[in-house]
Symmetry: D2
Subunit: 275 residues, 4 copies
Amino acid sequence: MAKSKFEYVRQFEVEDKCLPNCWIVVRVDGKGFHRFSEVHHFMKPNDDRSLKLMTKAADCVMEEFKDIILAYGQSDEYSFVFRRNTTVYNRRASKMMTNIASLFASSYVFYWPRYFGTQMMQYPPAFDARTVLYPTDKNLRDYLSWRQADCHINNLYNTCFWKLIEDKGLTPAQAQDRLKGTMSSDKNELLFSELNINYNHLPELYRKGTILIRDKDNQDLEKSLSSTGSSSSGSQGSYRVPSSRSRPNIISLNEDLIGDQFWENHPEILNPGKR
Amino acid sequence: MAKSKFEYVRQFEVEDKCLPNCWIVVRVDGKGFHRFSEVHHFMKPNDDRSLKLMTKAADCVMEEFKDIILAYGQSDEYSFVFRRNTTVYNRRASKMMTNIASLFASSYVFYWPRYFGTQMMQYPPAFDARTVLYPTDKNLRDYLSWRQADCHINNLYNTCFWKLIEDKGLTPAQAQDRLKGTMSSDKNELLFSELNINYNHLPELYRKGTILIRDKDNQDLEKSLSSTGSSSSGSQGSYRVPSSRSRPNIISLNEDLIGDQFWENHPEILNPGKR
Amino acid sequence: MAKSKFEYVRQFEVEDKCLPNCWIVVRVDGKGFHRFSEVHHFMKPNDDRSLKLMTKAADCVMEEFKDIILAYGQSDEYSFVFRRNTTVYNRRASKMMTNIASLFASSYVFYWPRYFGTQMMQYPPAFDARTVLYPTDKNLRDYLSWRQADCHINNLYNTCFWKLIEDKGLTPAQAQDRLKGTMSSDKNELLFSELNINYNHLPELYRKGTILIRDKDNQDLEKSLSSTGSSSSGSQGSYRVPSSRSRPNIISLNEDLIGDQFWENHPEILNPGKR
Amino acid sequence: MAKSKFEYVRQFEVEDKCLPNCWIVVRVDGKGFHRFSEVHHFMKPNDDRSLKLMTKAADCVMEEFKDIILAYGQSDEYSFVFRRNTTVYNRRASKMMTNIASLFASSYVFYWPRYFGTQMMQYPPAFDARTVLYPTDKNLRDYLSWRQADCHINNLYNTCFWKLIEDKGLTPAQAQDRLKGTMSSDKNELLFSELNINYNHLPELYRKGTILIRDKDNQDLEKSLSSTGSSSSGSQGSYRVPSSRSRPNIISLNEDLIGDQFWENHPEILNPGKR
């Protein structure tokens, strides 16, 4: 049983280290979630249970990977931003994206009952993931702005679409037709005058998506209590069963991140050493 | 809310298409499963429930990705072999490995109760994955032989190790010491004379691992009934809820694949068109 | 002058090893040779001096890189095929293609006077290069067939084009117009009936391009005389000043390589160990 | 002669686009120049003819690639820095490095007689090249500092080494022995007290290497005269025969670039738009 005779096949593995000194973003995306949401009767245009479950799964990922400094999620996707100089898994893109995609997916199934109660999951979902590098702070902010702008655009459309169906009795095809070629301002007006909705009064969860960041004060506390900090060791690290905590380590926000205000309020995100 | 202003960030995504005409292998590996197996009181050296759950998760992956022609699993890992000329996801390595890793992980959690009954899962597990290319049939067979030889070597060692602890009352350190520097023949002898075990009588599941292949006859039947065949379309394809079937599409074997016999029995694996 | 303080920048270099067990092809292509050929008054449609100089430059590359088993050239391009398991430069694609492109270019200038006599070169030419991997013998043969078919197609067109201009007095635009939409058979017919040329009687150099391979007998001789063979050592190897030889090591052929005959005559190319 | 039947082989070519918004550096390195310098009797430790020829070749490269904003050379190497957002060759690394390596090499041979007079070149030299990305201005400056520090360290050593041989009659082995373990200060002292050389009085060409940048004023002039600017078009561009000019477009400096002074004097290098 000569293992060594076959071991040469390891040489076919390719190293895929991320360029140093770049922001590393891993974005997880639900596969075929249109169908998954139908099978599981998600509320339209937004299902609070699913959005919260997504955020819970993202929270699990951030608990596991300490070098993730921010996560942003909306609809069936979540983006994870690693600090610029992380050495987790020696910056190997494959390792990072597969670990995150699989932990996200397993957490989604694991915590399903907490958000969907007695409604059974019909089949296990898949999530793809990709790793993208951004050389500058501006590029990173533009990436996150892109995702939040996408959230807004989709939510505005979907809100109109589903209200036209539910309140006005249109068919999906009719609703689609009604919205074709409309601008944001047209849709806002439609909501306001015909559908009796002030878009800006809708929950920010729907309009802005969810930002997860680490609680600065809690982090400092944690650091002073312990100095293990295994997450950025470059090795695989052991799997940590989350410890119980008196207050949360990770905080969730539903606010604008396109403007400067968010970044001025949280300067430590882009400059972790400069607090 | 100018989405277009930010959309340039998409250009930072990198294409990672696999070289054409190579065998594509995606191997999934449990992350930190030493700890996971302890927390969940897995039987040593082999836990039937976990092995069968792994195979169930692999089965879900094969049901979803029709271009996987063979899977091989042992311990906390599973390898998936795509046919040489698959065009699934345009052969993009990231897409393939993240979808598989996440579907494997979500299936592992989803089907946990079927194999572990009332024993609760304590926390959701992660699996990493890698994509490796093999240019020739020989390279592919050597890869699979490497994994099966690894299964044998580890199982022989672990069988000795745990028997020394359980039957002979050794501590883990003592058992490790006893086995240091031993050859395969020494371990076989140890099992036979001192621990009363004929290694070759142990279940093949433990000694050989598990091979999943598609049932030829059933495949032909399926093809004659339908001509949708969406899996190799190069597009993302819709998520398919498994249909009920009178007989299984995928068959599971626990046998040697290092020698020629297996490949002679299943010539369609390496030469799908030549049956 | 702390060099070490800056040395971290080396980590930004990316390894680009070629997948093992694949044929490695490096193709060199003249940059802007349309203009270069005009400035230097190349004969149309084929300039013997330039074709022979190209082959001389290719010969220099093969003298330097002993793991190149075959080269094929036509027009302003040359393809170099490394043996499947070469370890030259640890199979790093960048190293291979830049060394070849630069040695080809420097040789082209160096040997210019030998072929162009007293006609001065006006400016130094550039050549780009690319590295392409082919997993199977069939893929490699199809690659070379693609280049030789390209040679034929272009030569047939160019022969018609320039004869229409030179013999029939057409302008370039008129000649282009005359040839638009014609098939190979139409062009053959045009040459034969109107331009008095039997295409098949043209030199094979023009119709087939040039194949360079190593002289088997000479190679054996060389091996028996010396056992240095540094070219496949994986290290950079020292620069070797070509020794004088009584008979050439590399032979040049102008023949078909699309059919089987060439490969049957030279089985050692695809199977170097099996002679 | 079905070209299309073979054309599928193009799909095996891999795209290697550089990450957007990074500084792109292509470094050219002489292959086996130790031997080349011996065969051609280069002066030790520095040969003015070769250094100037290297700079002439670099100048040719900068004339051809207008998006190169700075080049730095020393010994048998030259680094070319493209502006951050160049789109030359669609940022394909292979295209960039092979074109540069080959044009550098052909120019080196082409202009040899201008610097070496009647001394014949014995054989054509090769140069390898690599493409490296730097995300930030600091990383780029550190890269260039690394190369200039390397120039200094080697020059200090080589000056001592050759003076010990020439003036003190030591053998190479003895000279090497004498210098083993010495610090920079030791070498300066050795030169000053024993070899009668004040290192700081040696030509800056030897101690600092050569920086090539574009003449700002001339560039503006050029822009006002013409608006072709084809070099950064993303397409391959035509080969331009250098036009005659009344004053040089590219200027050569032998000065420190590790400190801030150089960058303050030439702010347009890092911020091309901000002049």
